[in-house]
């Protein structure tokens, strides 16, 4: 059984026993660096993949202009270009 009187003094005792453990300036710099890295690596907007797919479609249409065969949607049915 854990003595409740001992538990009442847990905070000062644990702080004393762990007083060698410090969050120092080095850690703060590391956190700030990581936080800025996280911000810089912001998730890619949804628009970008859509634009890339659109550009792919255009390129495919120019390379193999056969709209009557597969509706000109080579980006979505790329295999059709090589039939």
């Amino acid at each position: 059984m854990i003595d409740i009187k001992e538990l009442e003094h847990l905070a000062p005792m644990a702080n004393e026993m762990l007083s060698g453990l410090h969050a120092d300036e080095t850690m703060k710099r590391r956190i700030l660096f990581a936080a800025n890295e996280n911000k810089r690596r912001a998730p890619m907007p949804r628009l970008v993949p859509a634009l890339l797919r659109g550009a792919g479609d255009c390129l495919c249409e120019r390379l193999c202009p056969a709209p009557e065969r597969h509706g000109g949607r080579c980006g979505r049915n790329a295999h059709a270009c090589f039939d």
Binding site: M17, N38, K39
Partner: protein
């Protein structure tokens, strides 16, 4: 205490970060160490918590900054504790080493460390309740809100942890 709002400008956010880091970083680090008994992992948790604070999207209610930091700390520790389950089972649970600043005799240190080790060996849910209540000084209502549990459950956990602290030594520790 300054208000923490999500709409604050970057320099203000930096200032708030500095202020909260100076005030609570040691608490977060020691709490994580007490929970995990691993200095490296505790430092990782502390880093994650403050990165989340710095890059958070939501506002933190004024006066609730410490509770917010401790909630994120407990969640990060839980994730690490769960992910290290297999390692604990194979290699055994880590032992909590004390890290005092000043020199003390071995006997003095061991006497004080006994209670801390007994708490560390409690099952996870009892350990985190004891740490939040007796180490971080949070009230039962605050802990209940933080962990999303009824107050009765927290009281019951505290009572059971106190009563059954010793038998858990060498127990499952999951």
């Amino acid at each position: 205490m300054k208000r923490l709002e999500s709409s604050v400008k970057a320099p203000d956010r930096q200032a708030q970060f500095e202020e909260l880091y100076a005030q609570y970083a040691d608490d977060v680090l020691r709490m994580a160490y007490f929970y995990l008994a691993d200095k490296q992992k505790a430092e990782d948790v502390c880093q994650d918590v403050f990165v989340k604070l710095y890059t958070r999207g939501e506002a933190i209610a004024p006066g609730c900054e410490k509770a917010w930091l401790l909630r994120v700390t407990v969640n990060c520790c839980r994730d690490l504790w769960r992910s290290a389950w297999l390692k604990r089972v194979v290699l055994g649970a880590p032992t909590l080493d004390i890290i005092p600043a000043q020199e003390e005799t071995f006997e003095q240190r061991e006497e004080k460390a006994e209670l801390m080790r007994a708490i560390h060996k409690l099952p996870r849910q009892f350990r985190e309740t004891i740490l939040l209540h007796y180490y971080q000084g949070l009230g039962i209502a605050e802990i209940a809100q933080m962990l999303g549990l009824p107050e009765g459950t927290i009281s019951s956990r505290l009572s059971r942890a106190r009563k059954t602290g010793k038998p858990f030594e060498g127990g499952s520790n999951r």
